[in-house]
């Protein structure tokens, strides 16, 4: 049927099917800025403006929109001849404020702002938050998007907005109206200062405060905010994501998943599905080669176990793979799935790791060809034991031994762009895989045996990624999509639904953590023992390494002469956890920080003071680094830079920590059922995997003095392309816009292990630094030889797009380029370099939480989360603080509301974004970010990592604050109202009953 629409001011007639969603009709018409993130109207990525109002296009039929006027992101500032790249003021503000990370939610957020400002030119912050609340952003924590909308509203009203230029004293200008006068503080405020109440700020969004500890890098591009290199295309909603491409003859893949938690497939009949017109392939375990593999995207050789095959005759969790279909439309593919007849032989299932380890429990991996399972009969994937010193001796010598058990649960990454890939044969009979992956190079290597092609016949292209957070450090559907292309010869596109994103993708490992801590009355630690039982779900990816990180992180922040880690990693019939930002650290640090606070209180110490006595300082050895590594050999490591003390001091001042010591502050006379609390935690992480992670970069000089920088590093929205460009620009004496970054494509860019383990800035950044240094040398050599008389190459510099001699003569880079390419000793100035490090320098953070507990309902409302982070030099303070804000809000979800819940049969109950709650723009707490800069000698320009550290401190700080508020210690995440209420009832504190 025909539907008449005005789209972005132009008349359109679309031929649609009766049941076609407006979302699909618009994307089919080429409006790729309208995004898919779910099927149930909950993420808002598909939002458009319809007759002046923001609506979701995924819950509306195209036919319903007949006669309507629609604005998509493409209509805000359409590219016209002579006016390509012009921007709507809202797009400009999002770019300027650093409000765009992965950019997948950005079109909808910008449209939400557009609809708001049309009706209300002077919105309050609350109104802005309400307007954005229907568009979930998983990257930003909403801080900068809200700031962008407030800023553009002011500009559109004709009010002056703060300039973005560098300030007079040369400190980095921050593109935010600063609420304080604190871009730089020489002396930290005293730890327990003032006693004054915090002054309420008019605008709740705080600028990141930069606290600079000497030596400060002498830089022009690095350590300053730079506009993200991909910001314009993302703000304009250009077709840059995997699915923003339709190939001729492309088929649509779909996945049939198991309704059974544990079963053998007795029979599977695909005849009806194959007979359905429009169906081109139906694949089951009978149709694809049985090649055993591990799906985690990790360095060669992939850590064991190898316990998966592309399609199997047995299913091991609800949501497990059963069959794949390729058809001419998504509807036909879905219909075909319904026609596949599967007869299951149900097997007993087990969902609790403690039960799964018992004798007689159902054996989940009884297949004979699995490799590297420690004890398959007992569902024991790994049994790990690492010791440093003698823990039993240390505990025996202690004045006090504290034993506690903590439990952490399963949560999902919830990147708004689902797993998606497109595969096709190219003109050279090579298989092209365009995929939203964090690990293109690992994927190519891991895919090859499954599709039985040599690596050289596979090319993996990673376009922009709509968030990954570790979920895409995994080969989740590339193999199935490739099998469908192999079976049909056609391009095939495959995308997960939101439900599959929960039930058939990866998540965070749940764990039971048991600590035994020995301490002396003087507040020193004698021994720490950590025993973890980890729930591996149905398959093993990342099981070894995540748990090693838990053990390593759980035993590293504090010095103790005796340490031990024991761990059992156990299969259950649940969707397999894998990598999720922070890896095993958020689990371990919730338990570690809690047990340290409990130990301090048991000894009669102030927890902050107790922790301070024991935490690692500059020069200290990170003892478990050598003993543990990450599933393989470790290397001796020392802390060479730490701003932890500064972080605690600065954070405490901003958090008004001294209120913790005022008993009256905890009560609100007007609301007797409310208790207030302040909590504290510290965290330590690493920067890449020592002795293993490698990144490479290649830089070449162009005729006009610009440079191509190609990296295998995969920017998944973090801004890594931008900071890598800044590093190159700094070395080469040019502004960032002269660096043209491309990432990543296994044909075109050098290897990088991918975006994980907080390694990109530190590892890939160092590779870029080295490659740029080499190019710089080549430029100087060429200029010295041909373009100057009597220069001293040793004293030549690159600055302001020129090569300079020591006595002030200069030649522009474009002249060097033209000369070297066309005029004398013609050659291409270019270089590549790789970097690997035996060090993994730790970033540190101090996290403070302020909250209210309703002691009658158990509801916890977090008011403020103050975090101070030492990430070495912040190469780009705006992207760095953006990482921190987004990470903190994800961590708050982990703490309070996110949870994968199951019924008795192992069916996931949380399969959409209503039952699984992630924070929205109108409910996040105030979140000041402080970047305490140190100089890490081994990092590029002194940088360490920042990507994962913000995930660690929130849960323990909130637990600490709940304890402060109520006297009740919560040892199991998440702190949902009923769980808190239950503990309050057990503790029988006064006032809990109404």
């Amino acid at each position: 049927m025909d539907v008449h629409l005005t789209i972005n001011g132009e008349a359109w007639t679309l031929d649609v099917r009766a049941g076609e969603l407006l979302l699909h009709a618009l994307r089919r018409a080429g409006f790729y800025g309208v995004k898919h993130g779910c099927e149930t109207g909950e993420c808002g990525a598909c939002a458009i403006i319809l007759n002046h109002r923001l609506v979701n296009s995924c819950t509306m039929l195209a036919a319903q929109a007949d006669g309507a006027s629609i604005i998509t992101i493409e209509g805000l500032a359409p590219d016209r001849p002579g006016a390509r790249g012009w921007l709507d003021p809202i797009q400009q503000a999002f770019i300027d404020c650093g409000a765009i990370q992965c950019g997948y939610c950005t079109p909808a957020q910008i449209l939400a702002a557009k609809a708001l400002l049309r009706e209300n030119s002077s919105p309050t912050e609350r109104e802005v938050r309400e307007a954005l609340a229907g568009v979930i952003c998983r990257c930003t924590g909403y801080v900068k998007p809200v700031q962008a909308v407030l800023r553009v509203a002011a500009l559109l009203r004709g009010e002056p907005a703060p300039a973005f230029d560098e300030t007079d004293d040369g400190t980095p200008a921050l593109p935010f109206p600063s609420t304080g006068d604190l871009p730089e503080a020489e002396e930290p405020p005293a730890f327990t200062s003032s006693g004054a109440e915090p002054t309420p700020t008019a605008i709740r969004v705080d600028a990141p405060r930069l606290i600079l500890a000497p030596p400060r890098p002498d830089t022009r591009v690095v350590n300053r905010p730079a506009i993200k290199v991909d910001a314009v295309k993302l703000a304009k909603g250009r077709p840059v994501f995997t699915d923003d491409l339709t190939l001729p003859g492309m088929l649509y893949g779909a996945l049939l998943t198991s309704p059974q938690a544990h079963a053998r497939i007795r029979t599977i009949d695909t005849a009806q599905a194959r007979a359905l017109p429009g169906v081109h392939a139906v694949l089951t375990y009978q149709d694809v080669p049985r090649v055993i593999y591990a799906s985690g995207g990790q360095s060669y050789p992939n850590p064991p176990p190898y316990d998966q095959v592309s399609l199997d005759s047995k299913v091991r969790h609800v949501g497990d793979r059963v069959a794949a279909v390729a058809a001419e439309s998504p509807e036909i593919a879905e219909e075909a799935l319904g026609l596949i007849q599967v007869e299951y032989e149900p097997l007993p299932a087990v969902f609790d790791p403690l039960e799964a380890m018992q004798e007689g429990a159902p054996v989940i991996h009884d297949e004979p060809d699995a490799v590297g399972i420690h004890d398959a009969e007992r569902n024991l994937v790994h049994d790990l034991h690492v010791a440093y010193g003698d823990v039993e001796q240390g505990l025996a010598e202690a004045d006090l031994v504290v034993e506690r058990e903590y439990r952490v649960h399963q949560v999902q990454q919830v990147h708004i762009e689902p797993h998606v890939c497109i595969t096709w044969w190219d003109e050279d009979d090579r298989l092209v895989v365009r995929s939203s992956t964090q690990v293109p190079f690992h994927t190519r290597r891991m895919l090859a045996p499954l599709v039985q092609l040599p690596i050289r016949r596979i090319r993996v292209i990673k376009p922009r990624i709509g968030g990954g957070f570790g979920g895409k450090q995994e080969m989740v559907l590339e193999d199935l999509c490739a099998h469908l292309t192999l079976a049909t010869g056609r391009p095939v596109r495959m995308e997960y639904t939101r439900e599959q994103s929960f039930a058939s993708a990866r998540s965070r490992h749940p764990q039971i953590l048991r600590y035994r801590v020995g301490a002396n009355k003087d507040g020193t630690l004698t021994a720490v023992h950590l025993h973890i039982i980890a729930d591996k779900g149905a398959y093993g990816p990342h099981g070894l390494t995540v748990q090693f990180v838990s053990g390593f992180r759980g035993l590293s922040t504090y010095r103790a002469p005796h340490l031990r880690f024991d761990c059992q990693v156990v299969y259950t019939n649940k969707p397999a956890p894998g990598a999720y930002r922070g890896y095993g650290a958020p689990q371990a640090l919730f338990a570690l920080e809690s047990v340290m606070e409990e130990t301090a209180l048991a000894l009669g110490f102030d927890p902050v003071e107790f922790k301070r006595r024991n935490w690692l300082r500059e020069g200290d050895e990170i003892t478990m680094a050598k003993a543990m590594g990450e599933g393989r050999e470790g290397f001796q490591q020392f802390v060479r830079s730490s701003g932890l003390e500064q972080c605690v001091q600065q954070g405490a001042a901003i958090a008004n920590w001294e209120r913790r010591y005022d008993p009256n502050w905890r009560f609100d006379p007007a609301r007797p059922h409310i208790r207030r609390g302040l909590g504290f935690a510290v965290a330590m992480h690493g920067s890449g995997i020592a002795g293993l992670d490698m990144g490479a970069a290649s830089i070449k000089l162009n005729d006009d003095g610009s440079f191509n920088l190609t990296v295998g590093a995969t920017d998944l929205g973090t801004g890594s392309d931008t900071i890598l460009a800044q590093i190159a620009a700094e070395v080469l004496g040019v502004p960032t816009e002269d660096i043209l970054v491309y990432s990543s494509d296994t044909d075109l860019t050098p290897f990088d292990k991918g975006a994980y383990a907080s390694s990109t800035t530190y590892i890939s950044g160092n590779a870029v630094f080295k490659a740029a240094q080499e190019v710089r040398q080549q430029i100087i050599q060429h200029a010295a030889r041909h373009l100057f008389l009597d220069p001293d190459p040793q004293q030549m510099t690159l600055e302001g797009r020129q090569v300079w001699t020591h006595d002030g003569r200069s030649v522009p880079l474009d002249q060097v380029a033209l000369h070297s390419l066309h005029q004398a000793t013609q050659h291409q100035i270019m270089a590549s370099a790789s970097h690997m490090s035996y060090e993994s320098p730790p970033p540190f953070s101090a996290q403070f939480a302020e909250l209210e507990v309703d002691i009658q309902t158990g509801q916890v409302t977090v008011q403020r989360l103050v975090i101070a982070v030492d990430c070495g030099t912040a190469i780009n303070p705006v992207t760095a603080s953006g990482q921190v804000e987004g990470g903190v809000i994800q961590a708050l979800g982990y703490t309070l509301c996110e949870e994968m819940a199951y019924d008795h049969a192992g069916r996931l109950l949380t399969t959409d974004l209503r039952s699984y709650r992630v924070f929205a723009a109108d409910e996040v707490p105030e979140m000041p970010v402080i970047l305490v800069q140190t100089y890490e000698p081994s990092g590029p320009y002194g940088a360490k990592a920042v990507g994962e550290i913000p995930k660690h401190g929130v849960a323990p700080a909130v637990a600490s604050a709940i304890f402060h508020a109520t006297g009740v210690r919560l040892r199991a995440l998440p702190f949902t109202p009923e769980r808190v209420w239950q503990r309050l009832q057990e503790a029988q504190i006064p006032g809990v009953s109404s």
């Binding site: 009766a18 149930t40 209420w981």
Partner: protein, 278 residues
């Protein structure tokens, strides 16, 4: 992807009802679509939809005694309606906002919300507290007035292929309302929620004294919303306890049955206290 084969958009109720009366293909009414569209061809096995958009049932009007809401009015229109904002401390406008985000409430209609009536819709609780009535036109053409309370007992039976054509609220002389909830996060849909209404009834104004009444609607305890009506606030507590005691067992991963009952009584009290404070 909905696998329906027919989309109709009639401009009069008779045609709409005639289409809905068919058995082949199975035909269902479509309002905003926010609930229905993702379920079409899946949980709702229909082959055709009748879009109610052109029936003109969209107005929000009042006369001295009655507030009339067209079933096709969106939750945004309710939230912005001066009449709704004025009634009972704006409880309808307020709950229309808390029920859904702006992109949903721009599309979701009052009629659709009432039919779907999720146990946790605070807007439905507000309508219940206000003792809303609905007009249902059957496919045979007849009309029937339902109290929302009765309709919610078994919406399928009440509608039977018919259409809600109007939602009506008899306006009290004066009224005050309160809302109390518990949820995982401040804007999450509630685990348990209560709306309380204290009203002075217009129909008694000729009487010697104006009579008052208290209505409390409680969602999240039992599968369907509970409704309690008493004359005086001091009678509320025991009536709420009784209603909670009679409710069937119900819970989910966010809150067990036992928790919901205990917190339900507490929130009913808090909502009433808030209403009384006005």
């Amino acid at each position: 992807m909905p696998m329906i084969t027919e989309y109709h958009r009639p401009d009069n109720a008779a045609d709409a009802l005639a289409l809905l009366g068919r058995t082949e293909p199975r035909t269902v009414p479509l309002a905003g679509g926010t609930w229905l569209v993702p379920r079409l061809g899946r949980q709702v096995p229909a082959g055709a939809v009748v879009d109610l958009r052109d029936l003109g049932w969209r107005g929000i009007e009042r006369d001295p005694d009655t507030l009339r809401i067209g079933p096709m009015a969106t939750l945004s229109e309710v939230a912005a309606s001066p009449v709704c904002m004025a009634l009972a401390d704006g409880i309808l406008a307020r709950t229309a906002r808390t029920d859904a985000t702006v992109n949903v409430r721009n599309q979701a209609t009052v009629g659709g919300t009432v039919v779907v009536a999720p146990a946790d819709s605070e807007f439905v609780l507000a309508l219940l507290a206000l003792d809303a009535e609905l007009t249902v036109q059957s496919s045979a053409g007849g009309y029937r007035i339902w109290s929302l309370e009765d309709l919610l007992q078994a919406p399928e039976n009440a509608l039977m292929g018919g259409l809600i054509t109007q939602i009506r609220i008899h306006l009290p002389l004066s009224s005050a309302a309160g809302l109390a909830r518990v949820a995982r996060t401040p804007s999450d849909h509630p685990i348990v929620s209560a709306v309380a209404l204290c009203a002075e009834s217009r129909w008694h104004q000729e009487d010697v004294r104006v009579s008052g009444r208290v209505r409390i609607a409680l969602g999240g305890v039992g599968r369907r919303p509970l409704i309690v009506q008493v004359e005086r606030p001091d009678q509320a507590s025991s009536a709420v306890s009784e209603a909670i005691g009679a409710a069937g067992a119900w819970g989910d991963h966010r809150g067990s049955d036992g928790y919901r009952r205990i917190v339900g009584a507490l929130l009913a009290k808090r909502a009433l206290d808030e209403a009384l404070a006005y």
